[in-house]
Amino acid sequence: MSHVTMTDMPHMPAQGAHFDRARLAQWLIFVVTAALMLAPALPILLQVFVDRPLYAQDWQFTLGNITDIFRSERVGQVAATTGLFAVFSVIIAQVLGISAALLIGRTDMPGRKLMGDVLMWPLYLSHLIFALGWVVMYGPSGFVTQAIAQQSSAPWNLYSIGGMSLVAGISQAPLAYLYCLYGAVRSVDSSLESAARTVGAGPLQVLRWVTLPLMVPSIITSTALNLVIAVETLSIPLFLGRPARIETLSAFLYGEGIASSSPNHGLVAASSLLLMMLVGSTLVLQRILLRQGHRYETVKGKGSRPMPLGLGRLRWPLAALTALILLVTVVVPISGIFLRAFTTFLSPLIPLSKVLTLNNFSKLFADEANIRAIVNTVEISLISAALGTALAVAVALVVQRSTFRFTGTLEALAYSPRVVPGLITGLGVFYAAIILPPMGWLRGNIGIIVVAYVMATLPLALGVIQPAIVQVSRDLDKAARTVGADWTGAMRIVMIPLLRPALLGSFILLFVFHLKSYVIAIFLMAPGLEVMGVSMLSLWTNGEVGLLAAFASLQIVMIAVLLVLARILFKVKIYD
């Protein structure tokens, strides 16, 4: 190697040539994201101000839909019910989740690892399955209810706001638990707690004065998320509320938009808007509350695992209580589904051996539509998870690792589905496919569901990928630029390989999410386009509980196998 000059360098790219390729890629990502996010939202907005369905002829602009909503007593009633249900279920979820995070994450309670795993089950299953389990065991004619009612009258009424809140609260407790566990209990520098010990605080005082306050941001975040989920959930109000004529916004939307023979699209769109505003204001409130987040920022501890707090004499009683709660609220309902799947009729009055059967399964597989639903679901989930992960990593890289001018807008667009409940995403895509010509070709094939799924879960995928990008030093892609890679090259050669574990995690998370999903596709159903979740919903509507239980068992097994495989093959634990 000798003296060198600029001309000595081979392949010095002409000025601007590579510049364009990178910019082109960034613009492409921006346009795709914007189209995907706006295409479903704009038609809904339009429908709000139009006097008849968008697909009808000669529609005119009107404010009638909005005034209808405010005049309708029913909508007022529905909104109040929704609010009550959401608040109750969030309180239950947070109390359970926070206590579990402290007990399981911070103390020496026996069996805490196993109990932590069981607590997570509801998160892997859909509300539909979980609600079914509760109905089968604790509903008015449920197995446990009947067993107790033999001596006296029915001890409780699951078909009430209280019952709905309990089921929703328990199925959302894992989310609160996870946020508090990883956001605070595990990541808080243990020296902060040790410092409190040195100034004279006992173990419980440390929990009260140091650990719990440091959990505040995690509590706020998970509360907001759970509120949103409670407002959107469909199957719990449908299964538990409908029989008692308790109606929430989501059930109202479902009733008006799907079940009704002449859907009032204006009213549906306007109440969708109401729902989105409810959700949006929750998230805005969360941001405002977290603005003082720096007060809770903790310097990350240098490795040392915090010593678990000793519970002393309370050790075993607390363990027994926790185990009992988990048994009653999680294990029993899920076992109930399997039990029901293998029986013709489930009652404490008839011995099990008399009702055991495989009939439910043979009937399930006899119907071609159900087979199609399974095949479709797997296919759609695979494609959506792959496309969703690819889009998420592309968006995240532009947002975090480029000089693209509109990164702020791109990020806001990408996270906008957070304010759009799944039911409404489906509705929006449905409208879009009708009125936007380029989306028309998606009608009638699984592409339309894939589009809705990718849109709805983009924030979820970003939530996995963005933190992983933060972990990769900026110098690594800068170094690639200095040896001659353009932006796209640096991302492909350096960033993507380093993000592989996160991409795999995101893929599996999305796959499970799509597998269990039942709301998003409701408005997109057409013969030949069945997916498991929606088929299960119609089985419920048709009163085929045995078939439904068989289908649900199948889905539980599929998800369990998938998670175990992911853990063994790829060492990926989702939700970590």
Partner: protein, 357 residues
């Protein structure tokens, strides 16, 4: 002659100026060092040259190529500049072997495999890592990683090599060796080099010229001797050579040359001002600790002081003396007993600057 020219280069972050109208010209084959305390804008300056950061003002050119011009919006992307960069963190790609790290630049230049392998082994031999080609960065020591980082930056024969504190993550002994080794390679290849450090010894030992920076501005630019012997700013005197800075009062002096200054307690010190341009009133006196003597000297001012605490530093003692309400550090072979005493400062060793406003 290819020359790197920075004209009035500025980089603004919100309200703060990371670098403020920096002007530097680097000649072909030169080893130029950016020296200054942490946060003074060295890395920012280097990044703007590499194209990793876009300045907010000024222009940068290399030979006939304009790399950046705020006026017409020219900005050449880093990959199109083709400069070799060694990062402070080394920034080795953990998922590629040593060979892969070093070879990527050649691969991106579409150099055929045979030629590529030849060059990779050449450069790995040069940095003494031939046998480790198949290792991953995680399997190397800090010193070896640093060598890979250098190999990666020079393998495609860049016209300009940029190094950001490449030795700061090595322990003291290794750093000494690496300094000599790095300088040898640079000289052998005749690489035009810009080197960033906050270590004055490194800068003095390696550089053809040094740029001393403070708060985003260039304070002095010159050869190591010029910087050390004739600092033009009290900051340079104290940052390079650890000079004591003492507030004094003195008369006006337009020209460079001898002058008298007065300590707060009235003692007078004969000194010289390297720049002139002094206003009457408050001024700053700079004296290096090892140039203060405790025995009588010719052409020196005698100052009565109070000897204080001493620190043992191995090859010498550092002792604090109090005078006129402030403190000075002395570098001595043997400490003096505490209490009253005298020191002598030679006229040529006492440098007077205008007081900072």
């Amino acid at each position: 002659m290819t020359e790197l020219v920075l004209k009035n280069v500025s980089r603004r972050y919100g309200n703060t100026l990371a670098i403020d109208k920096v002007n530097i010209t680097v000649a072909n084959g030169e080893f130029l060092t950016l020296l200054g305390p942490s946060g003074c804008g060295k890395s920012t300056t280097l990044s703007t040259i590499a194209g990793l950061d876009r300045p907010t003002g000024g222009s940068i050119s290399f030979g006939d190529n304009v790399l950046f011009d705020a006026e017409d919006g020219t900005f050449l992307q880093p990959e199109a500049r083709g400069f070799g960069v060694v990062f402070q963190s080394y920034a080795l790609w953990p998922h590629m072997t040593v060979e892969g790290n070093v070879g990527l630049g050649l691969k991106l230049r579409k150099i055929p495999a045979a030629e590529r392998n030849k060059r990779i082994s050449e450069v790995l031999d040069l940095v003494g890592l031939g046998p480790l080609a198949k290792r991953y960065p995680g399997e190397l020591s800090g010193g070896q990683q640093q060598r890979v980082a250098l190999a990666r930056a020079i393998v495609f024969r860049p016209p300009l090599l940029l190094l950001d504190e490449p030795l700061s993550n090595l322990d003291a002994q290794l750093r000494q060796q690496a300094r000599v080794w790095l300088k040898d390679i640079q000289r052998e290849l005749g690489l035009t080099t810009i080197y960033v450090t906050h270590d004055q010894d490194e800068a003095l030992a390696m550089s053809d010229r040094i740029v001393v920076m403070r708060s985003g501005k260039i304070v002095q630019l010159g050869t190591p001797q010029e910087i050390y012997r004739t600092p033009v700013h009290p900051f340079v005197a104290s940052f390079i050579g650890n000079a004591n800075l003492i507030e004094v009062t003195g008369g006006a002096a337009a020209q460079a040359g001898g002058c008298d200054v007065r300590l707060a307690d009235g003692q007078v010190i004969r000194a010289q001002t390297p720049l002139g341009n002094l206003n009457a009133g408050k001024q700053l006196l700079a004296v290096r600790p090892h140039l203060i003597s405790c025995t009588k000297a010719d052409n020196a001012s005698e100052v009565a002081v109070e000897f204080g605490m001493e620190n043992y530093l191995g090859d010498h003692f550092e002792q604090v003396v109090r005078v006129a309400g402030t403190e000075m550090r002395l570098s001595l072979d043997e400490p003096r007993p505490r209490g009253g005493g005298k020191i002598w400062i030679r006229n040529e060793d006492a440098m007077v600057f205008e007081a900072e406003r």
